[in-house]
């Protein structure tokens, strides 16, 4: 009896709690660690305002309570205020994830009156030179202007910095600057190696020693600030050797909609081979969430193979991240290679060893822009065609 209802129970998901609306892949920045797909240039047919409003209604009817607006740069959508107002009226807690580029005092006020609850401001580094290098635009001074606009509207100042090899040595100044800007929360998010960050990994992966120092500096600040600014240090899984329970479980709480309307269990799931993710143009959100193969495929633990199947931690980490498994082993069904039990773990160890040795990357760094997106996706297609020819020969 238990066996008969066990698997069914494991696969009966609750409602999504998080709806992330990636409004656009357009972005004035060119961050080398961007998690947008490297082939984003092929997805330029953005949902209309009315389509987004329908998505928001369907998500709320499903039970989603948090709504995030991100991108790309969501401020590039002129209907952002309209969408925020719709989400607010529907009863979502509304979050905007932005670099702040394009925010004016007028727009900040309009977003506030539309009911925007929360803004997370990302910034790249505390020194303008490196900031310019990493984002290709002069954005540092803008962050302080934007910070003032946020405070004027009564939003708490919540900042996010992606940490990597090229800025990790600046972590002390990054924290100091966030403190000077009056930030209440600062997330120091070690880069996760997907999409553009995967392409640029050899440039971005810090050494183990750099990470240890950065953590020690962060701890020292925590003691000094004594809770006045909350610091979150997101630990990188390459060095920790601990697979993460990605998205708190595939298709468990998180639902993201891409600019062209594909519904995904995470930002990057579209890179996985063999899965179909319906778009909101072809199917309602309820059917997508509960019935689509894309969402059901990796729910629970039924898809696992060894070493996951017999692992005592399988319910805790759910085998780690499917996208990372695929990126590092070309097989999305294996244990996340960051796990020391993974037969592919050597791939991760080699990357960390190279970072520890300060190896100079062979490839130049690739900035996230449209031209590089087209070039990378053309190269990926070539590789795929070559390997499928090789398979058939």
């Amino acid at each position: 009896m238990t066996a008969a209802i066990g698997p069914a129970a494991a696969h009966a998901p609750g409602p999504p709690l998080w709806l992330l609306a990636e409004l656009t892949y357009r972005c004035p920045l060119h961050c080398v660690f961007c998690y947008n797909p490297t082939d984003f240039a092929h997805y330029e047919d953005e949902l209309s305002t009315e389509e987004w409003r329908r998505v928001l209604r369907e998500g709320r009817a499903l039970g989603a309570v948090q709504c995030g607006f991100s991108g790309g740069e969501p401020l590039l959508r002129e209907d952002l205020e309209v969408l925020v107002a719709t989400a607010h009226e529907l009863g979502y807690y509304t979050n905007l994830l932005t670099s702040g580029v394009g925010l004016t005092a007028t727009r900040a006020a309009a977003l506030r009156s539309a009911g925007l609850d929360h803004i997370q401001l990302s910034f790249q580094d505390s020194t303008r030179e490196l900031n310019d290098f990493l984002s290709h635009t002069r954005t540092f001074e803008l962050k302080s202007r934007v910070g003032d606009m946020l405070k004027a509207q009564g939003w708490p100042m919540v900042m996010n910095v992606v940490i990597h090899r090229m800025n990790i040595e600046h972590i002390d100044r990054i924290i100091a600057m966030a403190h000077d800007l009056g930030a209440e929360y600062l997330e120091l998010a070690n880069t996760q190696y997907y999409s553009w960050a995967a392409t640029n990994r050899a440039h971005l992966l810090p050494s183990t020693e750099q990470l240890r120092r950065a953590e020690a500096i962060t701890d020292a600040w925590r003691r000094k600030l004594d809770g006045r600014m909350k610091l979150y240090f997101v630990v990188p899984d390459y060095h920790e050797g601990k697979p993460k329970k990605c998205m708190n479980g595939w298709g468990s709480v998180f639902l993201t909609i891409t600019p062209d309307g594909a519904a995904l269990p995470c930002h990057t799931a579209r890179l996985l081979p063999g899965l179909h993710f319906p778009t909101v143009r072809e199917m309602g959100l309820r059917e997508i969430w509960y019935q689509s193969d894309g969402f059901n495929h990796y729910r629970g633990t039924g898809w696992m193979k060894e070493p996951c199947v017999s692992c005592p931690d399988k319910d805790r980490d759910l085998g780690g991240c499917r996208c990372q498994a695929y990126l590092l082993s070309r097989d999305p069904d294996v244990a996340d290679p960051v796990c020391p039990k993974s037969p592919h773990h050597a791939v991760v160890r080699r990357a960390v060893t190279a970072a520890d040795a300060g190896a100079v990357p062979e490839q130049p760094i690739v900035f996230r822009d449209r031209r590089n997106s087209l070039r990378l996706s053309a190269a990926a297609n070539d590789t795929m065609q070559r390997s499928s020819r090789a398979d058939s020969e």
Partner: protein, 90 residues
């Protein structure tokens, strides 16, 4: 901070309280998160509007649930909620 009958509890900045049909309970929403509240927590928090003093909140709860002696429980909950920044005690 210490509480007395005139203490005015209100929701912390950035928090929102609402009844959530899909969860079957009151929830407290905050940036990127949600706390599901049990019945008594929901009943207390929905009265924390910044205008009702603690005495009045306790009296309302005792009347709504036809019981007495809720003061200590309400104070314990509010102290915890203040530590979590869910409420501000003015």
């Amino acid at each position: 901070m210490s509480m007395d009958g005139a203490t005015l509890p209100r929701l912390g900045r950035g928090f929102r309280l609402q009844w959530e049909e899909a969860q079957g309970c009151h929830v407290l929403l905050y940036p990127e998160g949600m706390v599901k509240l049990n019945r008594s927590a929901g009943e207390i928090l929905k009265r924390c509007d910044g205008s009702a003093p603690l005495d009045q909140i306790v009296a309302q709860l005792e009347s709504a649930f036809s019981t007495q002696g809720l003061r200590a429980e309400v104070e314990r909950f509010l102290a915890m909620a203040a530590a979590q920044r869910w409420v501000v005690l003015a």
